[in-house]
């Protein structure tokens, strides 16, 4: 693959979508569909989580099957903070990011010494260990999870209303996408992508490959931790299921459907997958069959993901 380059219309389009998102809660309320504000928040949060995985997977070339562990860690930190009497998101969210980032540092420091299928298995193993840890932690609710007593405040403002939490999630997503968008064009992002393309060559050019990968892995973990803390506020529960490998798989599917290595791949994938689920669940409990067909179609007709269909033409179909 070539180095990522944003299409020229990408900036105006994302600004337009941002404006639409800002108006969404008002519009939904006016249409008497306020119920969907919570759903839209969920989409934003998963867009954030999937984008953080896309940094690791799409730009860093690290196929992690344990990314949900950082999502879950963030959710638990939020719940535990509240249990400890900290109800301010400005404290709890950075804490969630720090804990998830530290966890990612440990996981990455070990697993990034392996390659290919071993890396997949080790990240999976770490995530499952974390899952069983929380399942067996009685004081944190065991397999029932740890509930929150209502939502936190953000800088003193309550997130109790669906609108407020929606805007908080939107702010987090916009900040993360701004960072990722700058990052992939900056020195760090170019090095990261070049490592994905040819690790040996980068080492032979004098780059400490391991350190670059680890930093990207930790950054991805931190953003996933933020998504987890937001999710706990949305659902009112930090559940061990958030750390399950199936959750990691869902994030992977989002990135693959959306577009691996495309800046907005995670966002597009989260929107498509969650809207599909929301729509189909109304018709049949077996909506996963349709999801399977969709995945098949993506792999066959848009192997680079949906975002790639709209992305800039790339001259990298060769060698």
């Amino acid at each position: 693959m070539a180095l990522y380059r944003a299409a020229p219309w990408q900036k105006p389009l994302s600004l337009a979508l941002l404006l639409a998102a800002l108006a969404l809660p008002t519009a939904l309320s006016a249409l008497d569909q306020a119920f969907y504000i919570g759903f839209a928040t969920r989409v934003l949060i998963f867009a954030l989580a999937a984008s953080s995985l896309n940094l690791v997977l799409g730009f860093g070339g690290m196929v992690s099957l344990g990314h949900a562990a950082f999502l879950g860690a963030g959710a638990y930190v939020a719940a535990i903070c509240q249990q400890a009497g900290i109800n301010e998101a400005l404290i709890a969210f950075p804490l969630a990011m720090s804990v998830a980032g530290l966890f990612a540092l440990v996981v990455g420091a070990v697993s990034l010494r392996t390659r290919g299928v071993y890396f997949i298995m080790i990240t999976l193993a770490f995530a499952q260990m974390a899952y069983y840890l929380f399942v067996s932690a009685r004081s944190w609710g065991g397999d029932d999870g740890l509930p929150l007593n209502g939502r936190m405040t953000l800088g003193g403002l309550p997130l109790a209303s669906d609108d407020a939490l929606f805007y908080a999630a939107l702010l987090a997503l916009v900040a993360a996408m701004a960072l990722f968008g700058r990052l992939v064009d900056a020195r760090f992002g170019r090095v990261l992508q070049a490592i994905r393309e040819n690790e040996t060559r980068m080492e032979a050019l004098g780059y400490p490959v391991f350190r670059f990968r680890l930093v990207a892995f930790v950054l991805g973990g931190m953003v996933a931790g933020l998504a987890g803390a937001l999710l706990a506020n949305l659902t009112g529960l930090a559940s061990p299921n958030l750390l399950q490998w199936t959750q990691s798989g869902t994030l992977l599917v989002m990135v693959i459907i959306g577009g691996v290595g495309y800046l907005y791949g995670g966002v597009v994938g989260a929107v498509i997958l969650l809207m599909l689920e929301e729509t189909l669940v109304g018709f049949t409990a077996h909506w996963h069959i349709v999801l399977g067909l969709l995945l098949l179609a993506v792999v066959l007709f848009a192997p680079r993901g949906v975002a790639a269909l709209f992305g800039p033409a790339r001259s990298d179909e060769h060698g």
Partner: protein, 251 residues
């Protein structure tokens, strides 16, 4: 003799039952072109892998520019001034030729940290200006925008050389730079290496004997993991053991 830039002493490495390298003593003097030759399977590439840090020896020391680098990883040796090309072209095929070289410039110690997350590289004109200079040195000034994978084989070899140069090495490790190139490209590569040799020390592994005898100040001969001879081209040409082991029917 001038000071040794690279000093390898009693380097050994076994792969299972095979002695790939046996107590190899070898040095490269600053400023020279030192060619390492030997029949297929003699251990030349294995030797280069050990010098560059891609492989670790079972025993022996490697000193470079006055420091023991035996335990250093590859990227640290590159920072210390050692750069290598590969027998099989090793570039970023999906990236433009210019981006390939710009990454090499960016990786250098004096180019500043690459842990920069915000400022677009596109605004760092110095990086690309310098990269263009290296492309020009290898005759690829018109190919900067082309995807590296689309270049001809000879152009890809030249591109790899430009990347290696961009690391501003003290010592160039060239592993069969002529491999797979046609006669014309080969002649251009010899000229290029001749020019480079005025500025940088070169350790050259090559099968093309005409090129070796034209370029090398000294030649070492490796056979079955053992160094059997080191000397000037004339000494090596007339060495009985070398003739027996290797050159006999070539010269």
């Amino acid at each position: 003799m001038a000071e040794a830039l690279l000093e390898v002493s009693r380097l050994s490495r076994r792969f299972g039952a095979v002695d790939a390298l046996k107590e190899v003593d070898f040095n490269v003097t600053a400023g020279e072109v030192h060619a390492l030759i030997g029949p297929n399977g003699a251990g030349k590439t294995t030797f280069i892998h050990h010098v560059s840090g891609a492989l670790q020896p079972d025993s022996g020391r490697i000193r470079f520019a006055g420091h023991d680098v035996t335990a250093l990883s590859m990227h640290r040796r590159v920072s210390a001034g050692m750069a290598r090309s590969y027998q099989i072209t090793n570039i970023f095929p999906g990236l433009s030729a210019l981006d390939n070289v710009a990454l090499a410039v960016q990786g250098r110690n004096d180019a500043g940290s690459s842990f920069r997350f915000w400022r677009p590289v596109g605004r760092e004109a110095a990086l690309f200006d310098e990269a263009k200079g290296y492309l020009e040195q290898v005759g690829l000034q018109d190919k900067g925008g082309a995807a590296a994978g689309m270049l001809s084989h000879g152009e890809q070899r030249a591109l790899e050389l430009a990347m290696v140069l961009a690391t501003r090495p003290k010592l160039l490790l060239l592993d069969e730079p002529m491999a797979g190139t046609g006669p014309e490209e080969s002649a251009r590569m010899v000229e290029l290496i001749e020019q480079l040799a005025r500025r940088v020390t070169i350790l050259l592994v090559e099968h093309d004997m005409a090129a070796v005898f034209r370029l090398a100040d000294r030649i070492s001969v490796l056979v079955n993991g053992q160094l059997i001879c080191t000397g000037t081209p004339d000494e090596v040409r007339n060495d009985a053991a070398v003739r027996r082991a290797y050159l006999g029917d070539h010269l």
